[in-house]
């Protein structure tokens, strides 16, 4: 517990120090155009929480971004677990799916953006798709590794206790892969958030990425910095929420503690 207090203390100290350095740097003549005053950025964020920037206030933008991540990510998680399992647990599944997996994996999610726009236009569907495809391969990789690394002796133990072959997957393989699947879901969420920012920066009329790109278009450094901080804070929140969920669901695992 005191370890945690110490950590919080140092976090406060170092982040305050960073803000102070930032403040004094922004006061220098040569930095004026590059670095806005942190107080202005803070004011902008507070004002944005109440009155709208563009069409929505900050909460509205965050909600838009989160809803995009939610749709793409949920789809990717479900498909990733199903397809990854099929690829890892059945030989035929592996033979069918793996070639496509190997072909698609080295293509970064962002490289899909132009094709997604050609396919789905510039509305929500193309953003869902980009987030989906970027997250899918990450989750699939982890599900595949997790399912493959199931302890063969545990399977033997389950058989000897009378589990039938068709019960093995759901009663032994999948639960034993949960920690690894979870780490995939975690990394995937971070990637989904980053991809969302990219997608919004390239084409959108709202969202956290839009705030940044609008700041650039209107040469408003304060808004750019505010947008970046917003993205960081929400990202941090997502990561923490995921860790909390893991600790709840994987209590049996050392990693979960």
């Amino acid at each position: 517990m005191s370890d945690r207090k110490e950590k919080t203390f140092w976090a406060v100290v170092s982040l305050s120090l960073l803000t102070i350095v930032w403040f004094f740097a922004s006061q220098m003549e040569s930095m004026k155009t590059l670095l806005p005053n942190p107080v202005d950025v803070f004011k902008f964020l507070v004002a944005g929480a109440i009155s709208p920037i563009g069409q929505h206030n900050i909460w509205g933008h965050i909600l838009w971004s989160l809803s995009r991540v939610f749709v793409g990510y949920t789809l990717a998680a479900v498909c990733g677990i199903v397809i990854g399992s099929a690829m890892a647990w059945t030989k035929v599944g592996e033979a069918i799916i793996k070639p496509f997996y190997l072909l698609l994996r080295p293509i970064p999610s962002i490289a899909w953006i132009p094709l997604a726009i050609l396919w789905f236009g510039i509305d929500e569907k193309s953003k869902y798709f980009i987030i989906f495809i970027g997250t899918l391969l990450i989750i699939m990789t982890n599900v595949y590794d997790g399912v493959r690394s199931v302890d063969k002796n545990l399977l033997g133990a389950a058989r000897m206790l009378g589990a039938k072959e068709n019960q093995l997957f759901f009663k032994v393989v999948l639960p034993s892969a949960v920690p690894q699947i979870f780490s995939g879901l975690q990394v995937g969420l971070g990637a989904a958030w980053a991809t969302m920012v990219a997608a919004e920066m390239i084409r959108s009329s709202e969202g956290a990425g839009w705030i940044i790109i609008m700041g650039q278009n209107s040469v408003n450094m304060v808004q750019i910095y505010a947008g970046i901080i917003l993205i960081g804070v929400v990202g941090l929140f997502l990561v923490t929420a995921m860790r909390f969920l893991e600790a709840k669901l994987c209590a049996w695992n050392i990693r979960g503690k």
């Binding site: 039938k164 009663k171 034993s176 049996w252």
Partner: protein, 248 residues
């Protein structure tokens, strides 16, 4: 005959050559008999148990349980492993009720049953604990309860206490005697510890090392609980030790 091991041979074939581990192994076990297979070295004993469990295939010979040939694993033969192999994502209760649950037995019935075995092995109060929180001895108690709870006809115990420290090992031996007096079962117990063999067995089958064959059998009719230091115990120990060749 209840359990018949009929002339089993087993050879592992690999690129490095053939490795003969079991040779003409042939014996019978009566119902509710506690048989210990004792022998030095790593060779053959566990393989024999796996063949009886149906987890490995013999090269030749047959295993019959109540005159039915054994071909695959089944809940009539439960195994207690040295490395225990609990399901880490299940609680103690979840592990013990795994077998009955797989067979679709109703929750109220199987949990009542499982509770009895958890009590029997002395883990009352730990039903909701996960294996990661338990000590080695406690884990093996769960392993034993889990095996009993699937109501096997034969218990196969593969050096179950091999990974425990000496003190816990003695304690667990006493526990096995107490539990098997309470729950009569046919037990086939593999060990390389001579004291453990004499302490537990109705009958000891001494096996040689690589390829394993049956060297000699001893019927142990000392009254239970047995005393490690009694004259009779020490005499048996001396005698069995003298015929076993320990390879270096």
């Amino acid at each position: 005959m209840f359990l018949k091991i009929d002339n089993i041979n087993k050879t592992f074939t690999s690129e490095a050559g053939n490795n003969e581990v079991l040779k003409n192994v042939h014996f019978d076990i009566k119902e509710n008999e506690f048989v210990v297979i004792f022998g030095p070295g790593q060779c053959g004993k566990s393989t024999l148990l796996n063949i009886i469990a149906g987890l490995e295939k013999e090269s030749s010979g047959n295993v019959y349980l109540e005159d039915k040939k054994v071909t695959k694993p089944g809940p009539d033969r439960a195994v207690v492993y040295q490395n225990i192999l609990l399901f880490p994502w299940l609680t103690v209760m979840g592990n013990v009720e795994f077998g009955p649950k797989s067979r679709g037995i109703k929750k109220s019935i199987r949990q009542k049953d499982a509770q009895e075995y958890i009590d029997l092995v002395g883990l009352n109060g730990f039903e909701k604990s996960f294996p990661v929180k338990l000590s080695g001895g406690m884990k093996q108690r769960v392993g034993i309860a889990r095996a009993y709870c699937s109501k096997p006809k034969v218990m196969l115990m593969d050096e179950p206490f091999g990974a425990l420290d000496a003190q816990t090992r003695y304690l667990m031996q006493e526990e096995v005697v107490r539990i098997s007096a309470h729950e009569k079962r046919t037990v086939l117990f593999v060990t390389n510890n001579i004291e453990e063999a004499i302490y537990l067995a109705d009958r000891i089958i001494v096996m040689t090392n690589c390829p394993s064959t049956i060297q000699k059998e001893y019927v142990i009719d000392l009254p239970r609980p047995r005393d490690y230091t009694s004259e009779e115990f020490l005499r048996l120990r001396q005698e069995i030790s003298s015929i076993v060749e320990f390879t270096r």
